[in-house]
């Protein structure tokens, strides 16, 4: 069968110990049975391993950091589009999504680059700081959460929340605090790295279970695969995991995707308590770094996203194999300094 040739740009090439989803997304795309996909990698730093993975990433361009804003990003993409015909762009970082959502219509209209992102309103609804309202609106249990800007607010929260409590950054990082001293330390650590606000959350005891899912933006969940981490790094990232057959968890996840009319990939993080109750801890607005497991189980979510971005109708996946495991590994790439020089000085390779 002749595969249709297209070009997809993807960010998240930081395939490190706390990996971005870019490389797993690209692996899924490269395994498409109907599309022959050329990959344009979009990087932020010169040592992102994906830049040097020639078998997966055909060409690389550096992007300005998200803090530079959407106008600078658009200008850079305009240059990239003058060099490459990009059909679809998949942003894979939480922190960059705001900019891409803002310019998604311009990308389509001016540069003919398709994306498949939620609207700003739906994106904002699932922000960590809005989790309580989100849970109520979409009928899913969530732990009590508060957004704070001053360390003294932790004292006030001690009236309703007990230790241990979870101290979280706006985008990343979460620490379990057993005392006020620990909580205040984590508060400062988080604001130094991620800025304000800081989220203080009730600690729910149980087993962490996660779902990678994709919605069509019209109220249909196209795919969902549940996973439990089997081995985690010191940063809490999955180094190994196994796909689960948990109908209730999938039902809850589908309900969230369908009712919120989520458009694109996402990750739902839950705690399953001893009483078999599920608490949604977070909804991450992009594919997780373990999304390649979904492909291994029979649901190629990145491919489905690209097809929907191209305006094609994708039928929802109805099942997947449980008991499939992923085991991450590290691998040293040997790279000549000329290649590093190329990306460092020219901003592309």
């Amino acid at each position: 069968m002749n595969k249709r040739k297209i070009t997809v740009a993807a960010t998240g090439l930081n395939n490190i110990d706390s990996p971005g989803p870019g490389i797993p997304v690209i692996r899924g795309l490269k395994e498409s049975e109907t599309l022959d996909i050329r990959i344009v990698g979009l990087s932020y730093e010169t040592l992102e391993p994906g830049i040097y993975m020639h078998d997966l990433v055909d060409k690389v361009y550096q992007l300005p950091l998200p803090t530079a804003g959407s106008a600078v990003l658009k200008e850079r993409l305009r240059y990239i589009a003058s060099q490459e015909k990009i059909d679809v762009l998949i942003p894979n970082f939480d922190a960059e999504l705001h900019n891409f959502i803002k310019i998604q219509d311009d990308l389509k209209n001016e540069l003919n680059i398709a994306t498949f992102l939620p609207s700003q309103a739906i994106f904002d609804e699932r922000q960590k700081s809005e989790l309580g309202k989100f849970g109520e609106k979409y009928g899913v249990k969530v732990p009590e959460s508060h957004m704070i800007n001053q360390v003294t607010e932790i004292r006030k929260l001690e009236e309703s929340l007990h230790y241990p409590m979870v101290i979280k950054g706006r985008y990343y990082d979460a620490y379990i605090a057993l005392t006020y001293e620990q909580a205040s330390n984590y508060f400062y650590k988080i604001i130094a790295k991620w800025g304000y606000p800081v989220i203080v959350q009730e600690f729910v005891t149980g087993t962490e279970v996660n779902v990678t899912a994709i919605g069509d933006g019209k109220g249909t969940c196209i795919g969902a695969v549940a996973m439990r981490k089997l081995y985690i790094t010191d940063k809490g990232k999955a180094w190994s995991g196994i796909s689960l057959e948990d109908d209730e968890l999938l039902d809850i996840s589908k309900r969230v995707i369908e009712n919120s009319k989520w458009r694109g990939g996402c990750e739902l993080e839950f705690i399953k308590t001893k009483d078999d109750e599920y608490y949604l801890l977070e909804m991450n607005p992009r594919f997780p770094a373990w999304v390649y497991l979904a492909n291994g189980c029979g649901q190629n979510h990145p491919e489905a996203l690209v097809k929907m971005a191209l305006g094609e109708e994708v039928k929802p996946f109805t099942n997947y194999q449980s008991g499939k495991m992923f085991i991450r590994y590290s691998y040293d790439l040997i790279v000549d300094i000329s290649e590093f020089q190329q990306i460092s000085t020219m901003g592309e390779r």
Binding site: M227, G241, L244, E245, S322, G323
Partner: protein, 81 residues
Amino acid sequence: MKVRKNIAISENGFIFNPLTGDSFSVNETGVFILQKLKEEESEATILQNLMDEYELDAHTAEKDLNDFLSMLQNYQLTTNE
């Protein structure tokens, strides 16, 4: 007591619970009991089968079976339906 739906038990005693992602290894006697449970045999029948198969007295067989069944329940591998 029944083995939960979808629990996979291999001949060499490897058990996988797809609901929780847990896996376990049991010995030959464990496989013997699990197979009987899967065949929906009653606990009384399994007890008698254990005594016959391993030449055990009633007291030892009952104690071992009860220990094993409570362990299965603890790990959410069985239901009482």
